[in-house]
Symmetry: C2
Subunit: 212 residues, 2 copies
């Protein structure tokens, strides 16, 4: 299907459909309708119908979509089927948790290696390597890396970001709690866990105070 411009809210809903479709039992019915999907997820039927029509032309009246094809169409639309190789900079606790997570492959993300000022020798062949920062440039060029994940402390994030861009990286997933300045053609996606925790913790403090 031809790619159309797509809003961020559609991009938020598509992974929800995909996650649900993937979770259905393999020996269940091979077809699923927009109505069934909408009901299962508690979402509006019209919206689900529109979203599915945007990514797949496999819908049949009164039958719905062939589930396997719909999974393929959504995955392809989201780019989950062309695997993106990425590297991660900052192998602290969060970096290592992401490196070892292993669940990103379902979303087309393959983290090849981490880089850190304190590299660590790998103990098993399955483990992903934590390499010294000096090898960053050569590694990115050799492997034509387009995506970088930043998990260094906030005050080092901008310099790491600049270095990644110089290595040819076009998309940055930033876990450091700081705004990054980048040229227009580079996309930064922020994932600010410290802020999330601050918001949640602030809410609990107010709740507890109200009770007293």
């Amino acid at each position: 299907m031809e790619r159309k411009d797509v809003s961020k809210s559609v991009l938020k809903r598509l992974p929800v459909y995909l996650s649900y479709l993937r979770s259905l039992p393999e020996n269940g019915t091979p077809y699923i309708s927009a109505t069934a999907l909408a009901n299962a997820l508690g979402m509006g039927e019209v919206q689900v119908r529109k979203d599915l029509a945007l990514v797949s032309d496999g819908g049949r009246p009164k039958i719905g979509y062939f589930r396997e094809s719909l999974i393929e169409d959504i995955s392809q639309f989201l780019g989950y089927d062309n695997t993106t190789d990425a590297i991660l900079v900052g192998a602290g606790k969060l970096g290592q948790a992401l490196l070892g997570y292993g669940g990103f492959e379902a979303y087309g993300l393959n983290i090849l290696a981490a880089f850190d000022v304190n590299p660590a020798p790998t103990e098993t062949q399955d483990e992903k390597p934590i390499l010294p920062m000096e090898e960053l440039e050569a590694f990115c060029r050799t492997n034509q890396i387009l995506m970088g994940i930043i998990t260094v402390p906030a005050q080092y994030a901008q310099q790491v970001c600049d270095r990644l861009i110089a290595c040819g990286i076009k998309a940055i997933w930033n876990f450091a709690p700081i705004h990054l300045d980048v040229p227009d053609n580079i996309l930064v996606q922020h994932e600010n866990m410290a802020t999330s925790l601050a918001v949640l913790s602030m809410h609990l403090q107010v709740q507890i105070k109200d009770k007293k």
Copy 2:
């Protein structure tokens, strides 16, 4: 200091200051000014000055803040010093990564246990337990848990959410890629990694297409 209402953008900046202050060498100068902080982080001096005045009254003209006190004041303001006990539901790969992360303690979050339909026996004493779902209610009541982390697949998230609220939980950190319906007094903080990956991956597809 008396708590004032605080905007979400301040809540985003405070963890940045804290992360920087904590990273400074212990044997360095004991004082830091708003100007020095602003310069180090590439942020506006006026903004930094205002933010710090909001959370601490320890600033001295021409000297700045005593670093240790400022760290304490920001931590206290963000609620990082009163540790919040939390539980996590859904011990899949992401859930286990968060459970084993260990870096949340610096932000006042202490995950006591995970719950899953497939509980796992713990192998060491240090490991946090993965308990059966049937024990959720009793555990939350006994330990007066106020925060829950949801890492189940999207289609189970709402029912887990309802169950957590019935257990007395007031703040939910949701990693499932789906909107949750909750009463007004409950706060949900969304952390949607699948969406982040879709946005990044979409950007790379457009970039590659433009090159061709």
